[in-house]
Symmetry: C2
Subunit: 686 residues, 2 copies
C-alpha cells in the first residue's frame, strides 16, 4: 500500500484530466460515478473486503440468478434516474450481451423499429419501453452463424387459418446462442425463411411469444433451454429454441418492407427513394453495434491492464538478474519485461479508445447525411467498421490474456477477476461478425476502390489520396521509399510514423491486389480470393493499423492542451504504440512488413528499440495515473488483485477464507465414502 501510494505520488499529471477525456466531460464523469455508487450500494458490493457473491462457487443456476439480480438493479437505476450508463456496458463493464435483459433494448427493440410497420412499432415499442416484455434476437442456429442465407427455420403461411407456422425442421435449424433466450425472454425476434404458396421468399423476421406472461412457462410448441456454462457471460442464459409447428398470427411478420396478404400474396414494399433503404438502415445498425463493441473492448482491455498494473506495483518478487543477493525483492513492475508488457497494453487500450472516438465523430456525420438521404459514405464507413471491429477485438482479447498471464498464478484464480475479464473480451472476436469474415469485407471494399481507380472510375473521397499511392506501387513504379524521409531524428515524429504506416499499408494492398488480379486470370474469382487470402488479410491489418494510428495521433494531440503533462503522457503513449506495433506486433498477418521495401533500415530499427526504452522510462511514473484515469470502481473490477488501495494479500486471503467451499463440507463428502486413507485413494467404494 506504501508502494501504491508512491506510484501515485510519482504521477506527472492528475488522472482526472484523462478521465474527463475518456468519458467526454465532467458532468458525465459525475453522473456515472453517482450511478455506480447507487447500484453498488443496492447490490451490497461497496465493502471491498467482502467476498463478491459471484465468486462463492456458484453452480450454473446460481450464476444466472446473480445475473438476474444485478440486471434488475441496473435496469431499475436507469429507469429511475433516466440515464443509459448501463445500456452497452453493465456495472462490471461487461458488454450488454452479458445481461439477461441486455438484448431487449438493443437488438429486439431496434429490429422492430427498423423492420416493423407503423402499427407494429406503435404496439410493440411501448411494450418494450414499459417493460411488459423481454425480447431475444433469435437469428443464429446450431448450424448457421454469420451466413444469414443459410438459416433453416421456416415460417410457412397457411391461407386457411391466416397464420404462420414456425418450425425447426432439422437439428441444425435449432436456434442456438441468442442471449436471454434460455430462461429470461418472453418474446423473440425469430429469423426464419418465409414460405408462401410453397415458395421460399428468403429470410424474414417474425416477432414470436415464447413464454407465458402468467407463469413464464414456454409456450406450447416451443422447447427452450440454456446452452450451459460458457467461458463468461454466465449471468445470462444464452439459449436454444426448437420450434415444433408453432402457429403465430399473420401480424407476427415484421412487415415494413415485405408483407403477406390474407390470401397469401407476398409483396415487397415500395419505397419512396427506391434506394434500398432497408439494407442501408440495417448497415447503419451494424455500424452502430460495431462502433460500440470497439469502445467496449477498450474498457475491457483497460480493466485487465489496470489490475495487472496495480498488482505489478505492489507485488515484490525476486530480484533483477545479477543483483546483490543481500538486497530485498523488487516490485515486478521494475522488471523491464513486465514494464514493457504493461505499457504496451495500456497504450493499446488508449489506441482502441481513440479509434472508437474518432469513428464516432465520423458516424455522427454519416447519420446527419443519411437523414438527408445521402448515403455516399456508407460503403467506406461500413468497411472501416468491419476492420476496426476485427482489429480492436483481436488486440483487446490478446492483450487481456497477456495481462492475466502477467499476474502469474494469482491471475489464474477466479478471485483475481482476470479470467472473467479475459473471457468476456475474448467472445467479441466471434460475435457481431466473426473477425476473419470482417477482415475480408474490408479487403473487398479496398480492392473495389483500387480497381475503380485503375479503371479511371470514381473513388470514394475518403480514400482517394490513399489509393493514388496504392496505384503507384501496383504499376511497379516502385519509387524509393519516401516514408522514412532520410532524417533519423524525424523518425519519432508522429507525422513521419504515420507516413511509414501509410506507405507500408499501401504497398501491402498493392501487392495483395496484384496477386489477386493475376490469380483471377488463372482461376475463378472465388478460388483466386481463397488462394490470396493470407496476403489479403495482411493488407487489411495494415490498413486498419494506419487508420488507428491516424486517430490516435489526432486525439492525443488535440484532446488536451499542448505542453501539459497529460498531453505529454498521451504523446508518449502514441509513440510507444506506434513503435511496439513495429517491433513486436500483437497481430501478425503482416509480421516483418515494416522491414520490406526499405521502409525502415536495420539502423533505424535499432534506433526504435532504443527509443522504446526511453519512452518506457518516461511513462513508468505514470503507470498508476494512466490506469486510474479509467475510473474503474473496485467493485466493477471485482478483483482481489486490482483494488485501488493495493492491499492485495490481505484481500486475497480474506476472500479465500470466506469461500463457502471452505466450510468443510467438501472434505467430508470426499472422505465419507472411505473407511480410511487407502479407501480415499481407491475406487473400490465407488
Amino acid at each position: 500500500m506504501v508502494l501504491m501510494q508512491q506510484a501515485r505520488d510519482s504521477s506527472t499529471f492528475n488522472p482526472m484530466k484523462l478521465t474527463v477525456i475518456i468519458y467526454e466531460n465532467e458532468t458525465m464523469v459525475r453522473s456515472r460515478r453517482a450511478a455506480f455508487h447507487r447500484v453498488e450500494h443496492a447490490l451490497g458490493l461497496r465493502d471491498n473486503m467482502q467476498l463478491p457473491h459471484i465468486y462463492s462457487g456458484l453452480d450454473r443456476e446460481g450464476l444466472y440468478l446473480e445475473g438476474v439480480r444485478r440486471a434488475r438493479v441496473i435496469t431499475s437505476d436507469m429507469i429511475t434516474h433516466g440515464h443509459n450508463h448501463f445500456q452497452w456496458l453493465n456495472e462490471r463493464y461487461q458488454i450488454c450481451n452479458s445481461s439477461p435483459f441486455g438484448m431487449n433494448f438493443l437488438m429486439f427493440r431496434r429490429t422492430i423499429e427498423l423492420q416493423g410497420t407503423a402499427e407494429q412499432r406503435r404496439y410493440w415499442l411501448q411494450e418494450v419501453d414499459q417493460m411488459r416484455i423481454n425480447g431475444a434476437y433469435a437469428q443464429t442456429e446450431l448450424g448457421h452463424g454469420t451466413f444469414v442465407r443459410g438459416i433453416e427455420t421456416t415460417a410457412t403461411f397457411d391461407v386457411d387459418t391466416g397464420t404462420f407456422t414456425i418450425h425447426s425442421p432439422t437439428p441444425t435449424s435449432v436456434k442456438y446462442w441468442p442471449g436471454g433466450l434460455g430462461f429470461s425472454c418472453s418474446h423473440a425476434i425469430v429469423a426464419a425463411r418465409l414460405i408462401t404458396h410453397g415458395k421460399d421468399r428468403g429470410v424474414h423476421m417474425f416477432i414470436v411469444q415464447i413464454r407465458s406472461l402468467d407463469d413464464f412457462a414456454p409456450v406450447y410448441g416451443v422447447e427452450l433451454g440454456d446452452v450451459g456454462m460458457k467461458m463468461a457471460y454466465n449471468g445470462t442464459c444464452n439459449g436454444y429454441a426448437r420450434f415444433h409447428h408453432l402457429r403465430v398470427p399473420r401480424s407476427s411478420l415484421l412487415a415494413a418492407h415485405a408483407q403477406v396478404l390474407r390470401d397469401g400474396t407476398y409483396c415487397q414494399a415500395q419505397t419512396k427513394t427506391g434506394a434500398l433503404p432497408l439494407s442501408k438502415r440495417v448497415y447503419s445498425t451494424m455500424l452502430d453495434t460495431r462502433r460500440n463493441i470497439v469502445r467496449c473492448v477498450a474498457f475491457g482491455l483497460a480493466q485487465a491492464a489496470t489490475i495487472a498494473a496495480r498488482y505489478s506495483i505492489v507485488r515484490e518478487q525476486g530480484q533483477l538478474m545479477f543483483s546483490d543477493a543481500a538486497e530485498g525483492e523488487t516490485a515486478i513492475v521494475m522488471f523491464k519485461s513486465q514494464h514493457y508488457r504493461l505499457l504496451t497494453l495500456i497504450a493499446q487500450s488508449y489506441a482502441i479508445l481513440f479509434a472508437a472516438k474518432d469513428f464516432d465523430v465520423k458516424y455522427d456525420q454519416l447519420v446527419c447525411e443519411q437523414e438527408n438521404d445521402d448515403h455516399a459514405r456508407l460503403p467506406f464507413m461500413h468497411a472501416l467498421s468491419t476492420g476496426l471491429k476485427a482489429w480492436a477485438t483481436t488486440i483487446a482479447s490478446t492483450g487481456a490474456t497477456e495481462a492475466r498471464k502477467m499476474c502469474g498464478g494469482h491471475g489464474f484464480v477466479a478471485l483475481s477477476g482476470l479470467p472473467e475479464i479475459e473471457a468476456t473480451v475474448s467472445a467479441t472476436v466471434t460475435f457481431e461478425g466473426e473477425n476473419y469474415v470482417m477482415w475480408q469485407q474490408l479487403v473487398v471494399y479496398l480492392f473495389k476502390q483500387v480497381k475503380a481507380l485503375c479503371a479511371g472510375q470514381n473513388v470514394d473521397v475518403e480514400v482517394k489520396d490513399y489509393m493514388g499511392g496504392v496505384r503507384t506501387y501496383i504499376n511497379d513504379e516502385t519509387p524509393a521509399s519516401s516514408a522514412q524521409g532520410g532524417d533519423k531524428a524525424n523518425l519519432f515524429d508522429g507525422a513521419t510514423l504515420l507516413l511509414i504506416y501509410r506507405e507500408r499499408s499501401q504497398r501491402l494492398l498493392a501487392s495483395a491486389y496484384s496477386a489477386y488480379r493475376d490469380m483471377c486470370g488463372l482461376s475463378s474469382a472465388a478460388e483466386a480470393w481463397n488462394a490470396c487470402m493470407m496476403s489479403n488479410l495482411s493488407a487489411a491489418q495494415a490498413f486498419v493499423e494506419y487508420m488507428v494510428l491516424e486517430s490516435f495521433l489526432k486525439w492525443s494531440s488535440s484532446s488536451s492542451a499542448p505542453g501539459t503533462p497529460e498531453s505529454q503522457a498521451l504523446s508518449h503513449l502514441f509513440s510507444l504504440f506506434a513503435l511496439t506495433t513495429i517491433t513486436s506486433p500483437s497481430l501478425s498477418f503482416a509480421a516483418g512488413s515494416f522491414l520490406e521495401h526499405g521502409l525502415l533500415t536495420p539502423d533505424q530499427l535499432n534506433g526504435i528499440r532504443v527509443h522504446i526504452n526511453e519512452l518506457l522510462a518516461c511513462l513508468l511514473p505514470d503507470i498508476a495515473a494512466l490506469t486510474d484515469a479509467w475510473d474503474f470502481t473496485d467493485s466493477s473490477l471485482c478483483s482481489a488483485l486490482g483494488c485501488k488501495d493495493g492491499n492485495v494479500y490481505e484481500r486475497l486471503l480474506s476472500w479465500t477464507r470466506q469461500l463457502p467451499a471452505n466450510s468443510g463440507r467438501a472434505v467430508e463428502r470426499a472422505w465419507e465414502a472411505s473407511e480410511g486413507i487407502e479407501e480415499f485413494f481407491k475406487a473400490s467404494r465407488l
Copy 2:
C-alpha cells in the same frame, strides 16, 4: 459425418503409423488404449451421446468431488494393472497437477527421495507407495513464488522440547496454490526458514502432517482451505495453509543434507565428492519436470487442434467470397485462413512433441553420465530445458486459444471442451518456473558461454561451434549472410532453413550480448541486464527456435522410412512450421528478425509465401489423419465438437438438452419473486 468420412478417405497415410511414433511403439499404444478403455468404462464415460458429468453445471464442490472420483479410478487402475500412463497426464490428458492425488508421487515422494535421510526414506516412501498418506508440496506462498529465497514461513527449533514450531508470521507467508492442499492431503512438504538458536539458516524442507487420518480434519494449529474456482484444474483443490505455532518433531526436517542435533546445533552434511550433489540433483529433478511439461503441452495443443480440425471438416458455413450465390455452403476447413491456422497449429504440436522427444534422448544420456559423477552437461541441459519450457508453453497456450477461437461461438461454450483445454494449457506458462524467468536463465547461460569464448576460455561442447559463429558477428566482421546460400531452389531444403535459423539466432545473440556488454560499462550489471531485457529475450527465443527446428528436422526425417507417405507428410509439416514461424510468428520478441542482415531477401519472402500455399494444399487431405494420429478417445477430448464421428450437431443438441439447468428450476426461481414481468425486470422486490 459424410464429410468426416471423406476427410479420412482422402488421407495419404494410415494414422496408426504416426500413432506408433507419438507413443514410442505398438505395445505402448495397445497398453494405453486398454487403460483408457477400462478407466472410461469404470467412470461411465463410454457413451459419447451422454452429457459428461463435468458439464452438468457443477458448483465448486461438485467439480472437486468429480475430480476425486476420477483420480480414484485412474490411481486404482495404475496399481491394479501396473502401468504409469496416468502419472503425468490424466485420463483427459490434463497434466498431473489437475488431480487431487497428482502431487503425491511426483513432488511429495520425489522430494523425500531427494532430501530425506536413509531412515526417512525407509519410513515415508513406503507410506506413500502403500497409499497410506497423500502429500502436497507446499512451497509457494501468497507473496512468494519463483523466488525461493523470499519464503517467510518459519520453522524454529526449541531446544527444551526438541521440536520445531512451524509458523506463518504474516499474511504473505501463508502457503497458497499448492495442489491438493485445500481438501485432499494428509501431509505436506513445507518449505520454511529454519531457525536454530535464533539464527536464520535459510529455507529447508519439512514433512508435516496437516490432517488427521481418522476423520481428515485439519490438525490443530493448521488452517486449511481451497483457493476457489480457477480457470481450470477445478477437479483438484489448490489450497492455502496458515500455520499457527504448529509443533512438529525434530525428525520432520528432511535431513539428508542438513541436520539439527538435539541440542539445536545446525550442521550441513558432508558429501563424498564435495560436488554439491543436492543442487545438482535438484537441478536434474527440475529438468525432469520441465521435459515432462514440454511433452504434456504438445498433447494439450494437439487436443485443441484435433477438436478444431474435426469441427472445421464438418462445419459448413458461408461461401468463399465471390462464389456463385446458388452454390451451397462450404466446409470451413476450405477457407484458406482456417486451413492455414489449423495446419500451423498441427505443425506446432508436432514440433513441440519432437523437441520433447529429442530432449528426452539427451536427458537419458545425462542421467547415465551423472551416475558416473559426470555433471559436465548439466548447465547446457538446464539452460535448454528452461528455454524449451518457456517456448513450448507459450506456443501451446497461444495455439490452444487460437484453436478455440477458430470454433467461433460453439468453441466458447463449455460443452465444446475447448475452454477447459485452453485454460489447462495456459497455466503452464506460469508454473514450474514463470516463463520470463525461464527465458532469462537461458540468456544467462548463453552470455556466459559467449563471454568464455571471447576470453579464450572453455566453452561447453554442445554449443562450441555455434558460439564460434556468434563471436564472428560480435567482432563486427559482419560477413554477407552465408545462410541463404544464394540459390532460391535450395531455400526450402531442411538444411538451408536450419542454417537460416542458426544464423538469425547467432546474430541476435551477438547483438544482445554486445549491447549488454556495452551497457555494463555504464551501469551496474543488474541495471544493464534490465535495460537490455527485450533484446535478451529475442536472443533466447531465436536460440530455442533454432534448437526446436533442429529436433524437428532430425525426427521428421528419421522416425519413419524415407519415401513413405507418412514421412512425406512429416516433412511437409516440418517445412510449414519453419516457414510460418518466419511469416507469422506466434511469439514476437524477435519479430521481423529474419529480414535483417540480408538473411532473407524480399523476393525470397514472397517465395516463402507461395511455398506455404503449396504446402497447405499438400497437407489438406491429411488433416484428419494428422490429428487422428494422436489417438485421443472421445471421452478424453470431452467435446461435443470433437468426437471422432463428426456428429457435431446432434451431440451438441443432445448434451444441451441433458443439462440439469434445463429442468426448469432456474426460471422458476428467477420468476418466483416477481408478480409479473415488470417485477421480473425491476429491483423493487429484491
